[in-house]
Each structure stands twice: as C-alpha cells, then as structure tokens.
C-alpha cells in the first residue's frame, strides 16, 4: 500500500514538473515575447515580419500547438513508466 502511494506521489510530482516547464514556455512566448518584450523584438525583422508582431499573431499559436502535443506524448510515457496507464 505504502509503495503504491509513493508511486502515485512520484507520478504526480513528475507530472507537476513537466506541467510547470510547459506553462513557463507558454507564458514566455505569449506574455513575454508577444506583449512585454514586443518593442525590443520588433527591432528584429524576419522576412516581412517584425519579430514581436510575429510572435503575437503567429508564433505563439504554433508554440501552443507544439506544447500540447509534447505534453500529451510525455504524459503517455510517464503513465507507462509509473504503471498507471489505462491499457
């Protein structure tokens, strides 16, 4: 019993670590690059885009996509690693 409790606790803290990491990236691309740092980033030009403007209207959305799939894939392997998968 204590072993399975310890396992569940370890699984949960691994999940929280992954979650925090993902949410830090989430905040950096949107609130950081897209809003707070938009002016300095706008000095950089990529193609026809100012970089800050690109993050606000395109880049943040692409990053969100990558984050959600990355999280799902990592969680699936955590599920198997800790033996809590549904299958």
């Amino acid at each position: 019993m204590s072993d399975s409790n310890g396992n569940a606790a370890a699984y949960w803290s691994a999940n929280l670590r992954l979650l925090t990491m993902c949410l830090v990236v989430w905040a950096i691309v949107s609130y950081g690059f897209g809003i707070l740092l938009v002016e300095p980033l706008n000095a950089i030009q990529i193609g026809g885009y100012k970089l800050g403007f690109w993050f606000a209207q395109q880049g943040s959305i692409y990053t969100f996509l990558v984050l959600v799939f990355f999280y799902a894939a990592r969680m699936n392997s955590l599920d198997r690693e800790f033996g809590v998968s549904e299958d």
Binding site: A8, L36, E39, W54, L65, F69, V84, E86
Partner: protein, 593 residues
Amino acid sequence: MDLQTLSYIFVGATFALYLGIAFWARAGSTGEFYVAGGGIHPVANGMATAADWMSAASFISMAGLIAFNGYGASVFLMGWTGGYVLLAMLLAPYLRKFGKFTVPEFIGDRYYSQTARIVAVVCLILASITYVIGQMKGVGVAFSRFLETSYEAGLFVGMTIVFFYAVLGGMKGITYTQIAQYCVLICAYTVPAVFISMNITGNPLPQLGLGSSLADGSMTMLDKLDMVVTDLGFKEYTTQKLGGTLNMFVYTLSLMIGTAGLPHVIVRFFTVPKVKDARASAGWALVFIALLYTVAPAVGAMARLNLMETIQPGPIGAPDGNLVYEERPQWFKNWEATGLLTFEDKNGDGRIQYYNDKNPEFAAKAESFGWQGNEMVQVDRDIMVLANPEIAQLPNWVIALVAAGGLAAALSTAAGLLLAISSAISHDLLKGVFMPEISEKAELNAGRIAMAGAIAAAGYLGLHPPGFAAGTVAIAFGLAASSIFPALMMGIFNKKMNSQGAIAGMAAGIGVTMLYVFQHKGILFIPGTSFLGDMGANWFFGISPNAFGAIGALVNFGVATMVAKVTAPPPEHIQHLVEDIRVPKGAGGATGH
C-alpha cells in the same frame, strides 16, 4: 449563375447534410444524449470542439477586429488559442478520468455540496445564454444579407435546423454535425484568404503572405500597410496597442482562463474513450482552431489594405486622389443598404475621404486639402470578412461559400451551448437535485424538452435582443474565468480545498467581476445606473471591463485559499477521490451515476 441562386444552393446543400446526419445519429440513451456515448475518436472530437468553439464571433468579427486594431488585436489571437494549453494540461484529462456527464456534476461531487452544484449551474446557464444570443443574431444577419430574407425568417430557419439535430441526436447528433460544420466553415474561411493572398503578394499561403513582399516586389505587405494607414493619420498597424501593455496582458489572460472555463467546451472532453485521448484531443482541437486563427491576421491586414486603397487610389491631397462616390463599387452599395456602412459628403466634392480626423496633426493637414472630416462615418467591423471576397472581386461561388460558412459557425456553437444548458437543467437540477429517482428514459425526454425550451428561449432573445447584448461577452468570459475555471482547477490540484473555500471563492470572483462590469456599463446594463458615480473609464490600472475576468479569477483563488485554511479540511473520501482522478488508470466510460 447569380449570387442569390448560388447562395441558396450552398446553404441548402449544407443544411440537407446536417439534417441527414441528425437522422443517422439519433440518441438512444442519456449517455449518448449527454456525451455521445463516450466513444468519439480524439481527432473527430478535436474537430467538433473546434466548430463548437469557433462561433460567429471568430468567423465574422475577429478578422474585422484585427483589421482595425492591428497588433492590438493579438489579445484575441493569443487569448482564444492559449486557453487550450490550460485545458489540455490543467483540466481535460482529469475531468475525463472523473467520468461524469456535466461540469456542475464534478463541482457538486468534488465539493460534496449541492449548493456548490447549484452555484455552478447558475454560472453555466448565465454564461451560455449570454453567449447564445450572439449566435442567434449571427444566424439572422447572415440570412438576411445573403438570402435576402427578413432577419426573422432567417432566425426561424436556423432554429428549426438546430432543433432537429440537437433534440433528436443530443451530443451524438451535435458532434457529427459539428464535424461537417467545421469542414464547411474552414473552407469558407481559407478559400477567399488564399485568393486574396495570391492577388496581393503572390504567395498562396496566407500565413506566409502576411510576411511577404507585395506582388510588384516594391516593399513588404506589412510595411506598405503601415505606410498607407499612417499617411492618413491612423495609428501604425503593426504597433498600435489595445489600451496599454498592462491591459493587453490582463485581457489575454482573461480570455485564456475564460476559454478554459467555458462549460460547452469542457464537456466535449467527456466524449472521448480514454484519459490519453482527452490530452490528444485538446491538441487536435487546437490544430483545427489554429488553421483559422493563423489565417485571420492575414485576412484582417489584407482587408484593411484593400479597403484603404479602394477609397484612396491616388496620392493623398491631390484633387483626384480619392474615389468618386458615384463610381463606388457594388459591394459598397450592398453594405450601404444594410446600414453597416455609411458615407456622408462633408465637403461636397463628390469624392470619399477616409482618414483619422481625431488625429489633430493630420486633421490640420487634411483641412489644407479642403477635407472637412472623415466621410466614412460608419464602417462596421463585422462586415470585413463577409465583404472581403467582394472587395477583392472574387467569383460569386466564393461569396456563397462564405455565407454557408458563417451559418455553420453560428449554428455549431449555438448547438453546443444549448446542449450545455439543457444538460444542466435535466441532469444537474432535475436528476441531481429535485428528482433523483427519475428513470433514464424520463431523464432523456426531460433533456429533449429542456433542449426545445432552450432553443425557444434563445430564439426569442434573438428576435428581441436585449439592449445589453453587445456588452454580454464580457459577462460570459468573466463568469467562466472568475468562477468555473478556478473551482475546477483547485478541485484537481489542491487536495485540501473544501466546499466552504470553493463556494466563497466562486461568489467573490463573480462578485468582483460583475461589480466592475456593471460599474462601467450600468447595473444589468441599464445605462446611468453606475452606482459609484462616474469614476472614469477603466479606472483600475487602465483595465477594460472585458479584460477583468483574470482579476476575478485571482480574487477567487485568494479568497478560496484563505477560507479553506480556517475551515475544516474536506472528508477523507474526497481526498481519495482527488488522488484517484490524478492517475489515468481505471477510467471507465462516462456515467451519470
């Protein structure tokens, strides 16, 4: 073929498709009615979620907001997509593991309190009703413009279609029609965008076209747009802000939290077979949403450029630089007829001057040209997407497709909201609180009656839109952000959160948000009833009322944590329940028991 015949063919064909699906996907049990039997594939569910989420506001209004607010409109782009990151990581998998039918049911069970469940039902119904009025209005407007029927007739046709597939099929019928509606709306949105991007930049991908050079190679499209708008005294497109930096920050956060807390979106993650699928499905939903949301900035920017260049084809200040009113294009006349576009020849020269007369520096210069004020007295933002194909002179079938797409967007969201309302009434209030002994068959019938009632109520409100309809979006997102999201999140991530804390938190969060909105817009939106007197707009650090949900959510978290600290912790079995929903193992199908 003329535009009206084509529009009838496109809209008629899509409606026949929705009805066919409704007949095929009839619901036979409460499980099918509430969560489509729990067997929807994650990719299909992602597509349905995208249609459910993208309303008439996303389809019709967002590109217009972008066209006139430029960079400032990024709050909508980031806010309405970033919420899915929160959903995928903080809510969806755990609520799926919990495995019940509705959001209030989770809140009631997790906080072992019927009061909490009823508070959640009230928040859900308020948020959903305010949202559905806007959809009904969208249906009426799209019909009246493209099929040249009356607004009322359009609304009735729309209500009848939703009635068939939502009442017959419940969540099962809604899910499959939403998949079809997604396909219609995404084609309708991207096809004109590809054409326009080709015309302006030569690049068929709108996402790249926005960052490309003009077709003649002279300069980049965004530089050109910045130049065209600033030359006429408007703010620079790529840097203009919505309020200040703080307002944009809080606004984005409110929309993200609100998105993750809207019950008609959350409930879609109850329809997939496994916890694993709930995580993936949120990703797929975001893929399908991003297809539209990454195209929208190009649509907005290019529509603005087209509009400016149509009205000011020649050099600024030259006597023949402006469009002659009598030579205005057909789309201009069509939209004048609707009253959404208004011209007033202030200096009597028979030409149209469109510039920013609020900019004192440019207004002085304009006066030296003999201009006497901006003559485009009204340019409703909502016409941009619908008029865009006409402005760009695209073939009639593209315009007919856009009409069908606008209807698909409005109908799919309306159906999702109506289901959330009817299941809150039949499952949470009737079965959960008043008649726990009700049989499944009776509950299913009650669900259908509640759905029919919700459609009738939404239709009535669509016909007689309350004067405050425009201000209600703030309420829908504010409620979802300040009450539902924090209660769900703390229910999963804070084992010690108890019923007193959750109820106090929800009440405080809603209270603060409502106070701020009503202070700005009048109590229940009745003008002149701002109870604290005139305090100046956005008095709290320049934050606009629409952006206040995030502050409400913070208040909710704060109050709930403090109250939970000084009251008894939740009972042992609730703490076990929380531990159980944190691991995927042992998730069964969604049940109502």
